[in-house]
């Protein structure tokens, strides 16, 4: 069913039309019979009047009574010779040949069909016939009856229009509810308020509000969890770092023995940060703080921030394009995205390798490309690298690299939130991996 309004209108009109028209037809048949009966009664009365008015048993000298051409009369003797007649009935219409009986019958003469009434006047032993043209009386009867049908038939389109309006009014609360839900801001989980909601919608409004409430509770819990987890997990790690630093200053313990401990703590810290950022970007929350953002500016600031890490590995990083590339998005999420891409590139690119970042306009929006001269990713794993905690086969990578397999999962998550598209390619220019993200126009 495409539209409740159309469905209701069409079925209602169809049912009204069917019921009305079928009963009209029955009414029409009955009325036509009634009117025909009326005409028959008239013929009968005319015959009786003629019988009373004309008692003459000799043929009428003038012989003709002028009547309209649609009615006639004849007075015949018992042996069917004419005593009197109207001008349009010249020959006797009854004869000894046909078995004459009193009453109504249909006959043909002078090119028409006639409804006639035959009266036997026993007191004067004569026959009186009155008749009326059937076609004329039929048209007359039909005119009388159809006059009452026309308004009903014409009323159907008017009824359709009124029903259309009425259904529209009836569905107004539903439209209002849909409007309220559609117009809700992404972060607005306040209950829907509908004054005088009709009975049919009360339970819908109640269950929608209950759902909104549950959603709201879930968000609050999640935010609380993120904040608590960040606090609870970061603190012990900071303490561990301090303790490690103290140990490093201890002359009795060799640096070589502390190295795995240091990298373990570093890695744990990273995993915790990544997990937290993955949970921080629920679709609703990311959309809340959307604004117009220059992607190139973000790229520049992240390169500046990470420059030290890149410089340690003596890698060469270049930014091409660099024009102002405005997109609609969440500043913090986009920073995380660029940060993850660049630090991934740096991580997996060997010493003195090369990284190239490009931000530029394309017809459908803005394109961000991060290429490196690292070992790249085998094409058959392109889909899997976006899975959480998935790590590319360590044979191909330096096993000393810190990472938890969440970086690209977070990137994909943020890309989806921004309705962007991410494509992985082998880099033809640098030989490593080429990550291409197309953001739609704002």
């Amino acid at each position: 069913m495409k539209s409740i309004r159309t469905y209701l209108l069409l079925t209602l009109i169809a049912i009204i039309t069917l019921v009305t028209f079928l009963s009209l037809l029955q009414g029409y048949k009955d009325s036509i019979t009634e009117v025909q009966q009326l005409f028959d009664d008239r013929l009968q009365s005319m015959a009786a009047m003629i019988s009373n008015a004309n008692q003459d048993l000799h043929p009428h000298s003038a012989g003709t009574e002028k009547l309209s051409s649609t009615v006639f009369f004849q007075i015949l003797t018992d042996d069917f010779s004419l005593l009197a007649r109207s001008n349009n009935a010249t020959t006797p219409l009854l004869s000894a040949d046909n078995n004459v009986t009193a009453g109504f019958r249909d006959i043909n003469f002078s090119g028409y069909r006639w409804r006639v009434y035959i009266l036997k006047d026993d007191s004067l032993n004569r026959w009186i016939i009155t008749g009326e043209r059937s076609d004329i009386s039929y048209i007359l009867a039909e005119k009388v009856v159809t006059a009452s049908i026309i308004p009903i038939v014409l009323a159907i389109p008017i009824a359709a229009f009124i029903i259309w309006i009425a259904i529209g009014v009836g569905l107004k609360p539903l439209r209002e509810l849909t409007g309220q839900l559609n117009n809700k801001q992404a972060d607005d989980l306040s209950p829907v308020v509908m004054a005088n909601a009709p009975e049919e919608l009360t339970s819908l409004v109640a269950s929608t509000n209950a759902l909104l409430q549950r959603l709201n509770d879930a968000f609050v819990r999640e935010q609380q969890f993120s904040a608590d987890a960040a606090h609870e997990l970061r603190t012990p790690i900071s303490i561990l770092k301090v303790q490690l630093h103290n140990l490093q200053n201890n002359e009795h313990i060799s640096d070589a023995a502390l190295l795995p401990l240091a990298s373990g703590i570093e890695r744990m810290g990273q995993v915790i940060e990544q997990i937290l950022s993955l949970y921080r970007y629920s679709p609703e929350q990311a959309l809340i703080k959307q604004s117009e953002i220059d992607l190139s500016a973000i790229v520049q600031s992240i390169i500046a921030k990470d420059y030290e890490q890149i410089a340690i590995k003596q890698q060469k990083i270049s930014l091409s394009g660099g024009e102002v590339c405005l997109i609609k998005g969440n500043q913090f999420a986009l920073e995380t995205l660029v940060q993850n891409l660049i630090s991934n590139a740096s991580k997996y690119t060997p010493q003195q390798g090369e990284i190239q970042v490009t931000s530029k306009h394309i017809t459908t929006g803005v394109r961000l490309i991060v290429e490196d001269s690292g070992p790249g990713i085998p094409q058959e794993q392109y889909e899997r690298v976006f899975e959480r905690f998935y790590r590319v086969d360590s044979d191909r990578h330096n096993s000393g690299i810190l990472g938890c397999g969440l970086g690209l999962a977070i990137v994909k998550h943020i890309v989806d939130l921004h309705k962007a598209k991410i494509i992985l390619h082998p880099s033809t220019q640098l030989g490593g991996l080429k990550v291409m993200i197309d953001f739609p126009n704002k």
Partner: protein, 260 residues
């Protein structure tokens, strides 16, 4: 006259209305576009008008029985369209089917509209010069068309609101019966044209359901009801049903086997 007009217009409208509501319900259930309906109706109405205007010329064809022969031809085309429609609809998985189905539905609507539309135009036009009857004829036509279209709308929504497996079965039975009715009418037209030998009717049910009543016309449209059918007509009707059931059944079985 009003009653005659109702019966004649109803007979024409209900047939087209049933075919269209069947196709529409099918489209709706399987989420196809409905552009074919508007295009089909538009082309059908224009063709019907052209056919009606040239009916004098057409009647002269085939030694003066052109109209009957062309009408019979159109009924056969509608039968073939319904047959092809069912055969394709039974194999929803094979490719190309969506466009072929749409084409079949459009052709069906065009020919149904030409056949029924031209009859309506010719009938009403015949009374333009008889002013005392024209109003009754128009009124009767409006009532007949109203009843016909309303029945189509009701059948459309009944098919849509039934559980899908029942609605598909009901649609199938209705399509098969409509197709049989087309062939029964073809034989009637060809008998009028003297192309098929006129015979004595093998039974007479006019005392139970007259062809000149509303119920008679409904049955005429749906199952090709004839109060006084000839042997040839009954044979043709049953053969038409047999062929359409055979082919659509074969198509269904074939599809089931492919799915296994």
């Amino acid at each position: 006259m009003l009653l005659n007009a109702v019966i004649i217009i109803l007979r024409e409208v209900i047939e087209a209305s049933l075919i269209i509501s069947l196709f529409l319900a099918f489209s709706q259930i399987f989420n196809n576009s409905r552009v074919w309906l508007l295009t089909g109706l538009f082309l059908g109405v224009i063709s019907a008008a052209i056919y009606a205007v040239n009916i004098g010329v057409v009647s002269q064809w085939f030694d003066g029985v052109g109209q009957e022969v062309i009408n019979a031809g159109i009924q056969i085309i509608i039968y073939l369209v319904l047959l092809t429609f069912l055969i394709i609809a039974m194999r929803p998985d094979s490719p190309l089917n969506k466009s072929l189905l749409t084409a079949m539905m459009m052709i069906g609507v065009i020919f149904a509209t030409v056949r029924e539309g031209s009859e309506i135009i010719i009938y009403i036009h015949g009374f333009v010069t008889v002013p005392e009857l024209f109003q009754s004829v128009l009124l009767g036509s409006a009532i007949g068309a109203g009843i016909g279209i309303s029945i189509g709308v009701c059948i459309y929504y009944i098919l849509l609101n039934m559980p899908i497996n029942i609605s598909i079965r009901a649609g199938y039975v209705l399509t098969v019966l409509l197709a049989g009715s087309m062939i029964s009418q073809t034989v009637q037209q060809l008998t009028q044209a003297d192309w098929v030998i006129s015979q004595y009717p093998i039974w007479d049910t006019s005392t139970w359901i007259s062809e000149h009543s509303i119920s008679g016309q409904l049955l005429y449209a749906v199952i090709g009801y004839e109060a006084t059918p000839t042997a040839v007509q009954v044979m043709a009707y049953l053969s038409a049903l047999f062929i359409i059931i055979l082919f659509s059944g074969y198509s269904w079985n074939h599809n089931q086997r492919l799915n296994k």
